[in-house]
């Protein structure tokens, strides 16, 4: 039955095609009346019928030459029986390339074109059917996505407004505790400081005494002839007093450390000299070590210098006496502390609640400010990452978050962009995504990724390339891009013919 219908249709078309000029569609056939002057379809000039398809362009709009290449702005209609009629631009007529599947655009013997319409038509129908099925399957999943997405959005919105309400209460509660906390902490702090201060004073006194003892030791060591006077020749034996680093301690250098005198007794040493030399002075054993290390220092590089300095600064700690412990607080202070601790704990709990709520609000807001498509269908991709590995790299797309690549052989991940915005054409902006402001390229822009989205039954990264330096292009299939398939009707063929 179907074939019969087709045959009849074809025959009737044949009859009509013979009537109308080459390259004219049936829809426009009525404008071309054999024998009558032709009026250019849009530009309006009138030319004799003989000028139609005579391989010379007369109409400004090119409509007098639908069947030749004479008009640069004209169009040729391919019948393409078995497939679908279509227009090609006139310059493709008789150029030696078969553009219409029925070969009708090449008729000057330059090339013999076969008729591939049936084959192409079948192939296209198959492809269309396959695509329709894909859409159908995909659309089912998409509907789930839409539901999930809407539910998620509703839930998150509800939760957000709930949280926003709670927030005031939580904050108030925290602030109330804060006031109490301040009240109990004031006496506590005062008591603690008092205790601390007394301890510091005690420590200072002890330190001074220790220092005098150290000075006495040093005096004894420096006083080589044990005459109870440290004089400059004794100082000269200690290379650490070599101010100008010329290898010897001169009389002047030695005297300078002795407060410009020839010698000092123990009392003066403890009172005036020790403070100035205690950081320089080295007991005999240590002085020897330093001397041996000296030659190395000449070739030391900057970095080694730094290490040396590090050692130096570490020394006082090593040499330093063990830190004496502060005696425990008195009972009264202890009580104040315990009382404050109770309120503090109470406060921390309240503050944590506020912070948790804030975090949740921020998370919700972040989610809600993203456009997941007209039906929330893309929300299903959120928090998911997809990978694709080619010859050199593994590419990764984390939806609404970031894109990246890392060398297949291992190595660090390079950011190819952070979620930016939808990037499709105005009429279909959900056709593509843009991730931008990735890692900067040397001498170039920061990396960005253009993600083309296609209908597919699964969420999958199917392609990754770099058409321009640092501008990446991903291909991604997802049910979220599937459209509701149009219902199949038998009339499809008719409208095309």
């Amino acid at each position: 039955m179907f074939y019969k219908l087709l045959l009849i249709l074809s025959l009737s078309f044949f009859a009509q095609a013979a009537e109308r000029p080459r390259g004219v569609s049936s829809a426009k056939a009525s404008f071309y009346q054999p024998g009558k002057d032709f009026k250019c379809l849009t530009s309006g000039e009138t030319v004799p019928w003989e000028f139609v398809n005579d391989d010379y362009c007369d109409c400004k709009d090119g409509t007098d030459e639908p069947g030749t290449s004479a008009c640069a702005n004209g169009f040729f209609f391919c019948e393409n029986r078995g497939h679908r009629g279509s227009y090609i631009i006139s310059s493709r007529v008789n150029d030696g390339i078969c553009d219409c599947c029925d070969g009708s655009d090449e008729f000057d013997e330059k090339i013999k074109c076969g008729n591939t319409c049936d084959e192409i038509g079948r192939k296209e129908r198959e492809e269309r059917e396959a695509f329709r099925q894909l859409q159908e399957q995909g659309y089912k999943i998409k509907q789930e996505y839409m539901q999930q997405g809407k539910r998620a959005k509703d839930e998150k919105r509800a939760r957000l407004s709930e949280l926003e309400k709670q927030m005031a209460e939580l904050t108030a509660a925290r602030d109330e505790i804060q006031t109490r906390k301040d009240e109990v902490e004031a006496p506590e702090t005062e008591a603690k400081e008092r205790h601390q201060k007394a301890w510091e004073e005690l420590k200072a006194a002890r330190q001074a005494e220790k220092d005098r003892v150290k000075a006495a030791h040093a005096f004894a060591e420096l006083d080589a002839n044990r005459d109870n006077v440290v004089d400059y020749p004794e100082m000269q034996k200690h290379l650490e007093f070599d101010i100008d680093s010329d290898g010897t301690v001169s009389v002047e250098e030695a005297r300078e450390y002795l407060d410009d005198s020839d010698g000092v007794d123990l009392a003066k040493f403890q009172d005036k000299i020790w403070t100035n030399i205690k950081d320089i002075y080295k007991p005999p054993a240590e002085a020897q070590e330093t001397k041996e290390a000296l030659p190395d220092e000449d070739v030391a590089t900057g970095s080694q210098d730094e290490e040396d300095r590090g050692e130096d600064s570490a020394k006082p700690k090593e040499a330093g006496e063990e830190e004496e412990k502060m005696p425990p607080y008195d009972e009264e202070t202890q009580k104040l502390i315990e009382a404050a601790d109770v309120v503090r704990k109470e406060y921390d709990e309240a503050a944590d609640k506020v912070k948790d709520a804030e975090n949740e609000v921020n998370g919700l807001k972040k989610y809600l400010e993203v456009d997941y498509g007209p039906d929330e269908e893309f929300s299903a991709l959120r928090d998911q990452c997809f990978e694709l590995t080619d010859r050199e790299y593994t590419y990764k797309l984390c939806a609404f978050d970031k894109s990246s690549q890392r060398p297949k052989a291992g190595g660090i991940e390079t950011s190819l962009g952070k979620w930016g915005h939808w990037y499709g054409p105005e009429e279909d902006k959900y056709d593509a995504m843009k991730y931008e402001n990735g890692q900067s390229c040397w001498n170039g822009p920061s990396r960005s990724t253009h993600v083309n989205l296609h209908c597919g039954v699964e969420n999958k990264l199917t392609g990754a390339s770099e058409p321009s330096r640092c501008e990446y292009q991903f291909e991604f299939t997802t049910p979220a891009r599937c459209k509701q398939p149009e219902p199949v009707t038998g009339q499809h063929q008719h409208t095309e013919l």
């Binding site: 005579d54 391989d55 010379y56 007369d58 290449s69 004479a70 640069a72 631009i89 310059s91 493709r92 150029d95 030696g96 390339i97 330059k110 590089t301 900057g302 010859r391 390229c441 001498n443 170039g444 390339s465 770099e466 058409p467 321009s468 330096r469 501008e471």
Partner: protein, 948 residues
């Protein structure tokens, strides 16, 4: 195609270390933004340049001996003595056909033969002699006559003056700057001693007496003092061993009465050459210069040592045949009227007679100068063409539009670009693949993952009449498993280092070797690599691009091979440097032609070039930048190439480096559409800028520009055909067409294509107007779009919005066009013609058309058509001047447009073979344009169209 950062900063990253790493890195960065000048030698870094430049004008120490004169029918030779050194030379003056002289000076008893390019390689043959008549001696002057020209040789001090029709036109050694460094043994106790002396001199500054004594002593011993850089020179970290010592040559050449000299490319400079008083001389040394600077005399990728000197009365040319590094100093002076009394005749109203003095010096070789006496610019083109040949007619596809990028990544990418051109209905003929298409920069191979089936890809583009060009560079990756390299090494075809081992340098693939293209057997070997069986994955519609053939070597001095490396014939590179690149593309072209047993024409593009390059390759101006200044300089640069015979040349449309904005890309397409070689190209790091990616407004303008190119293809093709015969520039400075009009001599933003089209590309950002100089008193010019008329010899500020390319057809010309847009030029083969007849004030016009099969060499056997058109007394005649036996065509005449016709004809008739037919026409009385509808005759026929 491009240079790279590695080279610009090699020494930076590897020489300095530790403390100041950060500082050095900054230097490296700076080099991204402009040429790193210190990578290249200035005259001060070049021993022989310093030595020649230091010479002061004065009395020459060279003298010819009249008694030694040997007269031959077409030449004369004499002994010349350099009096300080007692070294003897031979001077030969040749009379050549077509108003040309050749003057050679060689060392008589040289210790070592000097390099001269073999006849057939630069000179196409031994130039044909013409009788030179000895006209006697008068005092110390010998005179030789040839036709209306004569050469006056002054024996002592040696000097040569050339007269044309009694006017002095060229003087050689009139300033006494001749210096020929004779071969000599290496001194026993060499330069070191001198250096010591110099030091001593410095130390004893002020002790004048002793210094004088030394000078006197030196003069007695030897005329030429040894200088430290005569036997060894260093540049940066490189040492040049100079085993043969100083070998340079140089002489001054003056042009009395001349203010404008042109030529000696390649330089990024104005068309009219500038005086070099405050700069280095113009340098000719083939170099890969990263991000070259504009308006300076630095050397670039190629060299043609041909200079044209022009004034209102005459054009002459000087061709300095030397393949070594060459420098040319230029200064403008006034002529010595006491010697040239005749000069006063043609410079009126001016007390001083201008003169341009030039000073040429080369590192080695002999002095071999061709003097072409014109007298017109086109005569000089023909005279030079007789020496080095012309550009053979390019296959039609190659003068169409080329789409290139570093890189189209893979087969899918190629297919997508190809499809997009069709989708956006923009014609293109050739898509190009840069180095990334290969397997690891091993030329003649494909990256198997990206191009798994190159044959299929080539077939796909071939189905639309399109072609592909792949890059094949001369550096071969040192890899035993790379067949081309292994073969070259095993057969001993590679150039050697100074110690005799294979030269090892860095280029794209890393460590590489270079075949020695100077040897014929190496070129033959290379040519065979292009056969279908050797170049696996190639196809007949695949053509080739030779880049980096200076040659570029990233880790060598000045980014090119060391001067002391050895070629197989025993020459050092210093002797042959500038010719190497030409041999590369010659061998490549031969390989492509061999594929079809020399039946089909082919296409090769080269970056390096030399005199003679025009015979086997097109040239582009290398790695320019996507900046307005580089668009502007493309015109003088391509014109300079055209003046020296390299007519098929162009610049990267859009600029190679950087990201040009949409306006610049658009304007560049408009310019490129009217330059001989039309290819868009872009660096790997740039954003994609294929025309269809631009905003709609720009796509539209670019589509129109490219289509305009295609409509004028018949005109371009005819121009290339005639240029193959006469060597004429295709893209011409205005003065070539209007040699007597002084206002045109300095113009390089307007130019002519052939004799009929005047082009003034817009090269300024934001411009909506342009100043167009319309040359020619009494001429009339027509805007090719609006037919608006302009009178000659005036500058007019014309409207030039983004959509406008200011192009004008000269009144008195007839241009054949094909107005049907197709996807590629191949698809236009059978399309009909439109003749645009632009009438001059006498209501006359002439034009011509060449047609053939657009792709083979059959035209050389006469299988072509050549038709002359003339319009006179209201009649347009088609006169088939040539129709080869058996050559026919389907092309026909679609339309005739007559521009500048003041009155509407009553009737238009076509007369052919005794038949008369009335033709339909339209006439626009405001524009004075008559359009004759569909004469319908086959284009290869005689006929007349009469306007009644």
């Amino acid at each position: 195609m491009r240079s790279r950062m590695v080279a610009a900063s090699d020494t930076v990253f590897f020489s300095g270390h530790t403390m100041k790493v950060a500082g050095f890195f900054l230097l490296g960065l700076a080099s991204v933004f402009s040429v790193q000048r210190d990578n290249f030698r200035t005259c001060d870094n070049v021993g022989f340049c310093k030595r020649h430049r230091a010479l002061e004008p004065g009395t020459s120490s060279y003298a010819a001996s009249a008694s030694s004169m040997k007269l031959n029918p077409t030449s004369v030779s004499l002994d010349v003595l350099e009096k300080k050194s007692d070294v003897k030379f031979t001077l030969t003056i040749f009379g050549l056909k077509d108003n040309t002289f050749r003057i050679r000076l060689e060392e008589k008893d040289a210790m070592r033969k000097r390099y001269e390019p073999p006849v057939g390689d630069v000179l196409i043959k031994v130039p044909e002699g013409e009788e030179l008549k000895y006209n006697g001696q008068s005092g110390n002057q010998l005179t030789f006559n040839k036709g209306t020209s004569r050469v006056v040789l002054t024996t002592e001090p040696l000097r040569i003056d050339v007269y044309s029709d009694d006017d002095p036109v060229i003087s050689i050694n009139s300033q006494g700057l001749l210096k020929f460094e004779h071969t000599r043994p290496k001194p026993e106790a060499p330069p070191a001693e001198n250096q010591d002396e110099e030091n001593k001199e410095e130390a004893q500054e002020g002790e004048e007496e002793q210094q004088k004594e030394e000078e006197v002593k030196e003069e007695e011993v030897k005329a030429e003092p040894e200088e430290p850089d005569m036997w060894e020179e260093t540049f940066k970290s490189h040492t040049d061993s100079k085993p043969f010592g100083p070998t340079s040559i140089g002489v001054d050449i003056s042009f009395p009465g001349v203010e404008h000299v042109y030529g000696i490319p390649e330089h990024a400079d104005s068309l009219a050459l500038k005086t070099t008083k405050t700069t280095d001389p113009y340098r000719l040394y083939n170099l890969d210069v990263f991000e070259y600077d504009l308006y300076n005399p630095m050397a670039l990728y190629g060299a043609v040592p041909l200079m044209l000197a022009h004034n209102e009365k005459r054009t002459v040319g000087v061709f300095w045949l030397n393949a070594a590094e060459t420098w040319v100093d230029i200064s403008s002076n006034v002529a010595d009227k006491s010697i040239f009394s005749n000069l006063a005749d043609f410079v009126t109203g001016n007390n001083e007679i201008p003169q341009t003095d030039t000073h040429w010096f080369s590192e080695s070789g002999v002095i071999d100068v061709f003097l072409m006496l014109g007298p017109g610019p086109k005569d000089v083109f023909r005279q030079y063409a007789a020496l080095t040949g012309t550009t053979p007619l390019p296959p039609l596809f190659s003068i169409s539009y080329h789409q290139c990028r570093w890189n189209y990544n893979d087969q899918d990418d190629v297919r997508t670009v190809d499809e997009n051109f069709d989708k956006f209905d923009i014609p293109y003929d050739v898509i190009w693949l840069d180095i990334e298409h290969t397997d690891g920069k091993r030329y003649f191979t494909w990256d198997a993952a990206k191009f798994p089936n190159s044959i299929e890809m080539l077939r796909n583009i071939s189905s639309k009449g399109r072609k592909m060009v792949t890059i094949v560079d001369p550096h071969l990756k040192r890899d035993d498993n790379y067949k081309v390299f292994a073969e070259a090494r095993d057969k001993g075809l590679l150039i050697k280092n100074k110690d005799g081992g294979d030269f090892d340098g860095w280029c794209w693939p890393g460590s590489s070797g270079w075949p020695d293209f100077l040897e014929k057997h190496v070129r033959d070997w290379w040519a065979d690599k292009f056969s279908a069986s050797e170049y696996v994955g190639s196809a007949p519609n695949l053509y080739v691009w030779n880049d980096m053939n200076e040659p570029s070597v990233f880790n060598a001095p000045e980014i090119t091979v060391n001067r002391d490396i050895k070629h197989l014939g025993g020459w050092e590179n210093r002797e042959v440097h500038n010719i190497y690149g030409m041999y590369v593309h010659e061998a490549t072209m031969d390989g492509l032609l061999k594929r079809t047993n020399y039946q089909e024409r082919a296409f090769v593009l080269t970056r390096a070039f030399f005199a003679g390059t025009q015979r086997t390759a097109a040239v582009w101006t290398g790695d320019n930048m996507g900046e307005w200044s580089h668009l502007k300089i493309s015109n003088p640069m391509i014109m300079s190439l055209n003046l020296v015979g390299i007519t098929f040349s162009g610049a990267d449309v859009g600029g190679f480096f950087r990201n040009p904005d949409n306006e610049l890309v658009t304007r560049w397409y408009q310019a490129g559409a009217f330059q001989p070689f039309f290819r868009a190209h872009a660096h790997l790091d740039t954003k994609r800028r294929e025309p269809y990616l631009l905003p709609d407004e720009n796509v539209k303008v670019i589509r129109e520009a490219i289509r305009a190119r295609y409509t004028y293809l018949p005109y371009w093709y005819t121009e290339f055909f005639t240029s193959e015969k006469d060597g004429a520039a295709v893209m011409r400075p205005l003065w070539v067409e209007f040699p007597k009009e002084k206002a045109t001599f300095g113009i390089d933003d307007n130019y002519m294509i052939g004799s009929a089209l005047l082009v003034r590309p817009v090269t300024d950002q934001g411009a909506t107007n342009a100043n167009v100089y319309f040359p020619g008193a009494g001429e009339v010019w027509y805007d090719v779009e609006t037919y608006q008329t302009y009178k000659g010899q005036q500058e007019v500020n014309v409207q030039a919005p983004l959509s406008k390319i200011p192009v004008y057809q000269k009144g008195g010309t007839i241009i054949p066009r094909k107005m049907r847009p197709r996807r590629s030029s191949t698809l236009m083969f059978d399309d009909p013609f439109t003749l645009v007849v632009a009438l001059d004030p006498k209501q006359e016009a002439n034009g011509q058309l060449f047609i053939d099969d657009y792709r083979t060499f059959k035209y050389r056997d006469g299988a072509y058509g050549f038709i002359k058109y003339s319009f006179t007394s209201h009649k347009l005649h088609s006169n088939v001047e040539h129709q080869g036996s058996g050559f026919t065509t389907k092309e026909w005449l679609e339309r005739v447009i007559v521009v500048g016709l003041p009155h509407e004809p009553r009737k238009v008739t076509l007369h052919q073979s005794g038949q008369t037919k009335e033709l339909i026409f339209t006439y626009d009385s405001t524009t004075h344009v008559l359009i004759i509808r569909k004469p319908g005759v086959n284009i290869l026929q005689n006929w007349t169209i009469s306007l009644h």
